[in-house]
Symmetry: none
Subunit: 194 residues, 4 copies
DNA sequence: AATGAATGAGATTTCATTCAT
DNA sequence: AATGAATGAAATCTCATTCAT
């Protein structure tokens, strides 16, 4: 893709994010996204295979960045518990900073169907595997319980954080997510400690 | 309602559950549900206001029963940790027993919108408040950490269990949910202990 | 028909008149009429062939009475101009007295279809022929223009009165119809005079 | 609108007029109109908000032209009685020339409801006000009766003409409307003369 | 590369009528 | 005679996608 093309590609993703966040998934018509992006309806199809492809791309693009952030951040940490804290901190603060993204990923895109949810699943899987990796490190370092079921625990950790974010959104964001990091991680650490 | 009417009402809900589970939410046309229930399309509308009303009723009816189960069960327990174990056990085994219900509530009905999601929200809220109640009991009994944030922790507990069920379904139910109860509850208890 | 049957027959017609007047033709469902009449839906079909038959019967029954009134009244008059005045007076005052009937015949029933409109046409035809008869009497008595086209003029007279009633209804009945009789008849008489 | 768009807009209105005239209001499905217009069903909705909007537009478009004709024609007349004659002549000959239009406006569109009837009411009101204007001119010129009630008389005149047209249609158009103009106007003039 | 007018499949819901009780 | 639960046909409108320009 030329840089011009790249530009329009991102315009469309930005537009999709905004339109879905503002109007909800069921009112995010392709024509609306096109209008918001400042292109013709047909132009969308020069960059994306179909509507679902927009959403999948949006998800991959934005959450991919996020997962990369996780990877980068835990490189810099020494201990598993610090890594876990870092993960939770990024998870919460990034979504708090990008409310549209939070809203779209936690609420709206879950209404979508098969293909998209597979794509979501894949991105989430990467993230969950990252959590698993940290858990293993913690066990290996003797920090976490030796007979922890990592396949299960990674779900418990992810599910717990995911629910906190969703609940925060639904409640109308009356408090900060950042303020929930310490208490959340403390609960995890205690649950995991050797 | 006469008993005959009640009967048909439940036939339709049963049919809806089966059709959604088998065909997915977006292929659960009213006519399909009617056919499965053995009634005419129009008959549906003698029992339900509209399509969404079927789903809301389905949710209320089936999950309401479940929440009642939770309430009843923890009456019989003495300690908060036993209550928590009971909750997780019922949560997992009930959904394991009713796979269609699990599939529909965890995967399919989340695609629906506004009214239904409000209804889902209300049932889930009742459940989450039940968890909170157990947490408070544990704190009062000196069993759980005194400075636990119950509003946060109830989300962590619910979110963790919810994710385990969803993941089990998506994975194709290759293991039993019942086998995950102990490990899950142990994680919670350790995280909560005073 | 027994007297009991007759009674229920008229209950249903009364109910139909009321329901149409209050809810409009398109919201006058058979079930609503049945409820208003205090009978079951199915009972309607013991007295009427179908929905249209209710409306036709309603029209025949009520407007038939009216046409009879016209006939009776002009028997008592000596001159054609007096007969014409009488006709207009009855036309206006009867509909002013029975607003529901006026509303239903002038506004609502005109929305109906073929069969009903044929029936309306027949009743109206009787009335128009009555007007024609009066016109002929006037001509024969040397009171009205000798070369009047009676087939045309009866329409002019009926159409003019009909429009006055409809307009009065649509305007919200802000004035009395009775007050329009003299001016209306004067216009006719001048137009007809030899 | 480009000229191409305008063209299709009028194709659809033409089709609607034809379909309603041939099949009656209740059998004038959107799909039938679309087929007659040679466009896809969905295309209709690029030009009209909904089905009622087609009918309202049809009425406004066609009857608006007619009312304009009335306005133009009476500009050229000197006396009120000539103006009245011109109005009746146009009224009768235009509808005689456009039988479909006559049929649709006199018979079919009166079956429709609320919005459409409001729109009809507005167009008719303009016409009735035009008649009133002519009546006033006649009074001012000393041609018509000084104490004429113009608000009433305009209805008598319009109602009379309207009934003649409707009756002519229902009768199966066995005579010409044009042949009724003189006799109709003579009746009016005699009724109005000072 | 870009446009945007045109396409057309597809599903919910209403309500007059029936018929077993 | 009366009931009223059940029937099922039928039509509007939306919106993702295409393709001629």
């Amino acid at each position: 893709m030329t840089s011009r093309k790249k530009e329009k590609y991102h315009f469309i993703l930005d537009a999709a994010l905004k339109v879905i966040a503002e109007n909800g998934y069921h009112n995010a018509q392709v024509s609306r996204i096109a209008k918001e992006a400042g292109v013709a309806d047909g132009t969308i199809y020069l960059y994306f295979k179909n509507k679902e492809d927009i959403l999948i791309s949006l998800f991959r693009d934005r959450l991919g960045d996020l997962v990369q952030l996780f990877h980068d951040s835990i490189q810099e940490t020494d201990s598993a518990d610090e890594a876990l804290r870092k993960i939770c901190e990024i998870h919460f603060t990034q979504l708090e900073t990008n409310v549209n993204l939070a809203y779209v990923t936690q609420i709206e895109l879950r209404q979508s169907s098969i293909e998209l949810r597979k794509a979501i699943g894949e991105v989430v899987k990467t993230y969950i595997e990252l959590i698993e990796k940290v858990l293993r490190q913690g066990i290996d370092a003797g920090l976490f319980h030796a007979d922890l079921d990592v396949k299960l625990t990674r779900l418990l950790v992810f599910g717990a954080m995911d629910e906190v974010v969703t609940s925060w959104l639904i409640s109308g964001r009356k408090y900060t997510l950042a303020s929930q990091v310490d208490k959340t991680v403390d609960f995890f650490i205690r649950g995991l400690k050797a």
